[in-house]
Symmetry: C2
Subunit: 239 residues, 2 copies
């Protein structure tokens, strides 16, 4: 009897924003796997740390952070057979995922390789987008709003029509695209409703209006943008 | 010293998809408030039930479900002073919110009325959109995808450009708009990549291809739509 592959969403960073289900599974799985970018500490492993009983087999997956930039899947090609061996031996394996496993997550690569052969369960998690809205005290979307999530890695020609066809927008993966995206939003007249969030719930959280930010931003920072600066109903119901 | 107002995301329905933080707060707040549509059981109260120690003051908020259709805010106008009285007396109040409080949630109405006067904290939760993706085993968004969340309540003229400017789409609030939205997706040639989910993680979950659904859908059902049927990278990495 083979083990089950779990893709476990760990939430945005605060270990208390894990679900009870994720916590229960982390307490009992014998094997954990997680992305471990070369030389950097693994955020997923750090979030999970307080929930691990100790003694699990650990499988760090190298090269993960490079995936979005240059699709070299070597880390997953190497990790998948290792994980498969544990599953074949009847051991459940939990893959630790920042945020939600199916929302821009690297779990996709293991899901593609392993779910055709092994029982697989996805445990959804709190996304950094929702956590940023909570921290910024700005509703993401209300009533009939159209809400778009956009990677800053896209060219302006792909971003512009999506921003035009939404009332509320989250822009992810800023990094080296930050200056260009800010210039696009300024050109579209949307800076007034734009907020910036970095390291949400991870400690060292950095929240401010986009107009007050500097020239650079890390990859895991995001912009929340609401046309008209905030939902109209919020202003109308405020005392 | 006034109490704190908490907007607590309870997740999509499974009580185990609550966060540890939501669980801790529900164990200790003396007052809970929640939407209670006339005559129907409160989903938020049902999700929270296993986490409540008993003995809390309960404030059901009437008329909530009508808000999106006819913006009569009477329930919130009545509930806000009741909640304010508890806060003024130094008692913390938790407002129970299905999914995430700031993602199409009715918590907005209490946030507008009370957050200018009282300390307010938002506890983000797992959205039904992420839970549906997990249940349907279909990644919501990967790599450079543009992802749009759209209420079916909007006219086709508002939906169409948003669908065109996205690789992946979630359509919420189906109800009586279901037939029209299906016809729009068929006309746009997008039925092949469309999945349907109802009552995700709530018991009696109903998951199927959109093309196999009937004529009607409840308000709290959703469509997940991926152009090209699924992320290309998923197919390319599958063994």
């Amino acid at each position: 009897m083979s083990g089950t592959l779990y893709g476990i969403g760990l939430g945005p960073g605060d270990p208390e924003l894990l679900t009870l289900k994720a916590h229960r599974l982390l307490q009992r799985v014998p094997v954990i796997a997680y992305p471990a970018p070369d030389g950097a500490p693994s955020l997923a492993r750090t979030i999970a740390a307080p929930h691990l009983p100790g003694g699990q087999v650990e499988l760090p997956i190298g090269l993960c952070m490079a995936v979005d930039r240059a699709p070299g899947q070597g880390g997953y090609d190497a990790a998948a057979p290792e994980i498969a061996a544990h599953l074949e031996a009847g051991r459940d394996v939990a893959v630790l995922c920042e945020g939600d496993p199916f929302f821009y997550g690297s779990f996709l690569h293991l899901f593609a390789r392993l779910s055709p052969r092994f029982a697989t369960e996805i445990v959804p998690g709190v996304s950094s987008v929702m956590a940023a809205a909570a921290a910024l005290r700005r509703p993401l979307a209300v009533r009939n709003d159209r809400f778009a999530v956009l990677p800053a890695t896209l060219p302006d020609a792909a971003l512009r029509p999506a921003i035009e066809a939404a009332e509320s927008v989250a822009i992810l993966k800023l990094g080296r695209h930050f200056g260009r995206v800010k210039a696009l939003l300024a050109e579209m007249g949307l800076m007034a409703g734009a907020l910036y969030a970095e390291r949400v719930t991870q400690g060292g959280e950095h929240l401010l209006p986009l107009a007050e930010t500097g020239e650079t931003a890390p990859y895991f920072a995001l912009i929340l943008l609401y046309k008209g600066a905030e939902p109209a109903i919020l202003a109308s119901e405020r005392p």
